[in-house]
Amino acid sequence: MKSLLEEVQELNMTFLMLAQRLIADDRFAAIAKMNITDEQCNVIEKLSASDIIALSKRNQFLFSFELSGDEVERSLSTGRGSNSMTKAAHLSIALLNKEAV
């Protein structure tokens, strides 16, 4: 069985590899999807496989949870049911109005 620690490392690797695929598919859309800056996009794009392994090997996430408690609460209380478009729209609009740092 995989340890939680190994799973964190794997998630970091998956994140960076998926990021590279998203950037290759549509760079501008990828920047919006990941809420990263143009500069971060350039950095991620150029990472080699060994760079990705080196960055991923840690007990911390390389990406962060961006929502405040208020935002989660507000989004979850918008609309009814888990597949409500109003719920999704409220959360997406909140995420898109966050400054990438």
């Binding site: 549509d26 501008f28 859309a29 920047i31 919006a32 999807k33 143009d38 208020d70 507000r74 209380s77 918008t78 609309g79 009814r80 597949n83 409500s84 478009m85 109003t86 999704a88 729209a89 409220h90 997406s92 609009i93 909140a94 898109l96 109005n97």
Partner: protein, 187 residues
Amino acid sequence: MSRLDLLSEYQQVQTAIELIELGARVQTLEDVTEINRCRLVRLYKEVRGEAPAKGQLPYSTDWYATWKPNYHSTLFLSFFNRIKNLPDITYSRALASAYKLYSEQVLMIEDEDDGVVLSFTRAWMLTRFIESKQLELCTCSNCQLPFVVLSYSLNDQFVCGLCAPPSRAGVPLKRPTAATPTLATTP
């Protein structure tokens, strides 16, 4: 023609094809690309297999202020605004990417009562209405997020349609909770 010109022309045609696939009309393509009308019509026929529809664009700004179209428009515009100023992006590229982001998010939810409400033509017109200041963004006094509103409307203590949905939308009308004290006291 230089290599750079050829490359840029190739990219423009690629984006135009993408826009046609997303539902763009020839009027829109003429507005957002530098390709001439004749070529656009040919391109359109090739991609869609039929001649482009003729006629005026019937849309007015009022539609964007109605409940469902409003949060769809705001969602699209939030994607568009997030990417429109990125280095090397063109207007047509920003429209194509933002519209794809919008429709992909809507289709992902699979809400039976809600679908891709905003057509590509309406999305493009929205960006132009914002530019000409016929529509603008106004911050909701409850969630603090910017939503599309008609310009010059009285937006004092504006509450967005997601914080206060109309009762006929099948959602119980909730009184928006007051903004947190920290936000309310911020000058």
